[in-house]
């Protein structure tokens, strides 16, 4: 399938993101896929700042800022209001970080997914609370440093498997995507736009500030995450049909870890432990994809 990517830009220069920010690219690509007939619901996140300071805004579509845990419920209300006014064209997009999705907003998201509310939910995942200064979230991976998981006691639990949790609500479409592969990301957003019901896209989104990585390496790191199997690209339709979108190159996980200082304290055996977990999760995914 050939993909035509819109030349139109829906976010402006002059936004307030850090250099190398994955979240900014995520919004840029998602809006390219959805177009101007989109209303964004934005809970507390880096994007609350990236959007700009009143009276300015860096997005060219309507955007509603809301409380941290309410992306899915506000989106439900907006969609209902559009429907009663006879508007079936506008896409409602909830755009939330990992904290708002994996943690504080999970109840609202689960409620909306169970009701199969008709909106697209994009989680841009930078694996910690970056806007408040790099505190761990339940998306933070095992072994990572954050300001609340210091190197003397780094994160000792695995990342929550959010896609499987949300897909288990039997929503029509759930997928992972990465800012490292915009073509795949935009194709998924475009596909999601053509489906009704709750659609969930989990976007891998490096944060140089929080990951202590070079700003110029964000894309490389995002791609390495796919090819070390740390963040595989796949889709789940109707809760059961798994489909892997990209064959990883099977690179050692160390290739990915070594570009980020948040993992610099890891000893050899911890890296081996991460490698073992990544391999096991991949096997688990393969089994489900084959069924």
């Amino acid at each position: 399938m050939s993909l035509v990517v819109s030349q139109e830009e829906y976010i402006s220069p002059g936004h307030m993101a850090c250099p190398g920010c994955g979240a900014t690219l995520a919004m840029r690509y998602v809006l390219k896929g959805l177009g101007k007939e989109t209303i964004i619901v934005l809970p507390a996140s880096c994007w609350s700042v990236i959007d700009g300071v009143f009276p300015y805004s860096s997005v060219k579509v309507p955007l509603f800022h809301t409380a941290f845990e309410t992306a899915a419920s506000v989106a439900s209300g907006i969609k209902a209001a559009l429907e009663v006014q006879g508007d079936t064209e506008t896409t409602v997009l909830a755009f939330a970080g990992d904290g708002a999705t994996f943690d504080i907003g999970l109840q609202a998201l689960s409620g909306a997914a169970e009701r199969n509310e008709d909106f697209i939910y994009v989680c841009y995942d930078n694996e910690a609370y970056m806007n408040t200064g790099i505190q761990r979230s339940s998306a933070t991976p095992y072994g990572a440093w954050t300001t609340t998981t210091p190197v003397r006691h780094p994160k000792d639990r695995p990342k929550k498997r959010i896609l499987e949790i949300i897909a288990a609500h039997e929503i029509p479409y759930a997928a992972t995507a990465s800012i490292g592969y915009p073509d795949d990301l935009i194709a998924k957003v475009t596909k999601a736009k053509g489906i009704s019901g709750t659609r969930f896209i989990h976007v891998f989104s490096p944060c140089p500030t929080g990951w202590k990585s070079e700003a110029s390496l964000s894309i490389k790191i995002a791609r390495l995450a796919v090819h070390t199997k740390v963040f595989p690209l796949y889709e789940v339709e109707n809760g059961f049909t798994f489909h892997i979108n990209m064959e990883p190159k099977n690179l050692p996980v160390e290739e990915y870890l070594k570009l980020q200082e948040r993992f610099a304290h890891l000893a050899e055996q911890e890296i081996a432990f991460i490698q073992k977990n990544v391999d096991e999760e991949w096997e688990h995914l393969l089994k489900r994809a084959l069924y």
């Binding site: 579509v61 309507p62 809301t66 506000v74 009663v84």
Partner: protein, 384 residues
């Protein structure tokens, strides 16, 4: 048409007649039958609204916020813990200047568990930027729902209608159900001045620097002040069509009164009978019912009380570490007056403890007998 209905269904009829477009709600006793009836109205096509059965009260208010921001007339109902859970979003609704209407059935907060009436839940939300109306009868409840949308949409602030658990919510009374055409004439379809619109894109609620932020807060206070005049006008317009009016306060038998009892909600009805009896006995006592609590009707309250010797306030809520909340508000309103009555605060009726005619009589007699009020509120004792 007159129907004998419980207070909760009076709310439902008010919402249907107001043509709410989005309703989002979560069940909680004693509110539940409001939204049960509304879901029936929606299912039967009597009300053309989207009903979102959310997973929490926090999400109910968030849904209403989304719906209102996107240009729909939005409604929810709750009680007690549910209102407390919504607290964050109550600020969000008023800060975003959204004319949402909520019915809160006053119920005590836990622990210990208690499903009965008191006002601490709604009074705890007095600083959230919502208009608040305390209702006395099922008719007033129905009529206030319709007035609430009218006022909210004019001043762009949300309104909380407040009613007593069980005394109104589950008690049936004869209620005149207004004709649909008359309500349509009074409250036309919602035309939002600002909304999320892809043809006219804006960001709502962006980060604002300190100067701007305080400016926005000043605008809310200005809207609150204006809400009083708008509410008075809305009540007059309502009277012109439906031949019923409530005022923002009501003075009852206050002429030459030595003592005025201040009430809100259903205690007012009980107090009327007590005042009538005491007047017959030659006691110069009157009553002031407070219907609008936010914005606080300073002029009207001070006008009614400034020349009275004593004021006894029935408080069915408490600010711990201070005292009765209505009493505090009345004291502060009267501070700027040159003549200041003695204000006695009586705390009673918490958690549904019955406020009988005898309790009201005791309160009035106690205040008449005392020379000056104690610093703290006076408790009408419960068990323990």
């Amino acid at each position: 048409m007159i129907k004998v209905i419980v207070g909760n269904h009076a709310v439902s009829y008010g919402v249907m007649l107001s043509r709410a477009q989005v309703i989002a709600a979560y069940p909680i006793t004693p509110q539940t039958s409001i939204v049960e009836e509304l879901s029936e109205f929606c299912a039967d096509g009597h009300l053309n609204a989207k009903f979102i059965k959310v997973e929490s009260e926090h999400s109910a208010m968030a849904c209403c916020i989304g719906a209102s921001a996107a240009g729909a007339r939005a409604f929810t109902a709750t009680s007690s813990q549910g209102l407390a859970l919504m607290h964050e979003m109550l600020h969000w609704a008023s800060g975003a200047r959204l004319p949402i209407v909520i019915a809160n059935v006053n119920r005590a907060l836990a622990p210990p568990w208690n499903i009965w009436n008191d006002q601490t839940d709604s009074l705890s939300q007095r600083d959230t930027g919502w208009l608040q109306f305390y209702c006395e009868s099922n008719q007033e409840v129905l009529d206030t729902v319709i007035q609430a949308f009218k006022i909210s949409e004019e001043v762009l602030l949300p309104t909380m209608l407040v009613m007593d658990a069980f005394f109104l919510s589950h008690t049936a009374e004869a209620v005149e159900i207004p004709e649909t055409e008359d309500v349509d004439r009074y409250l036309p379809g919602y035309k939002p001045r600002y909304k999320l619109d892809v043809k006219n894109p804006h960001s709502f609620g962006s980060l604002a620097t300190p100067d701007y932020y305080q400016g926005f807060r000043e605008k809310i206070q200005e809207a609150m002040k204006r809400a009083k005049e708008v509410a008075i006008k809305a009540d007059e317009d309502f009277n012109n069509i439906f031949n019923r009016r409530y005022g923002i306060i009501e003075e009852y038998q206050c002429e030459e009164a030595e003592l005025v009892l201040v009430t809100s909600g259903t205690v007012t009805s009980t107090s009327r009978t007590v005042i009538d009896r005491l007047r017959k006995e030659g006691r110069k006592v009157g009553m002031l019912k407070i219907r609008m609590f936010r914005p606080f009707p300073f002029e009207e309250v001070t006008g009614a009380l400034k020349d009275v010797e004593k004021v006894a306030v029935v408080d069915r809520g408490i600010s711990f570490g201070h005292g009765g909340i209505f009493a505090q508000e009345i004291k502060s309103a009267l501070y700027s007056q040159s003549s200041k009555p003695f204000i006695f605060s009586y705390i009673t009726g918490l958690g549904g403890m019955d406020v009988t005619p005898q309790v009201i009589t005791n309160i009035i007699c106690d205040a008449l007998e005392r020379n000056t009020p104690p610093e703290e509120s006076i408790w009408i004792r419960g068990k323990l």
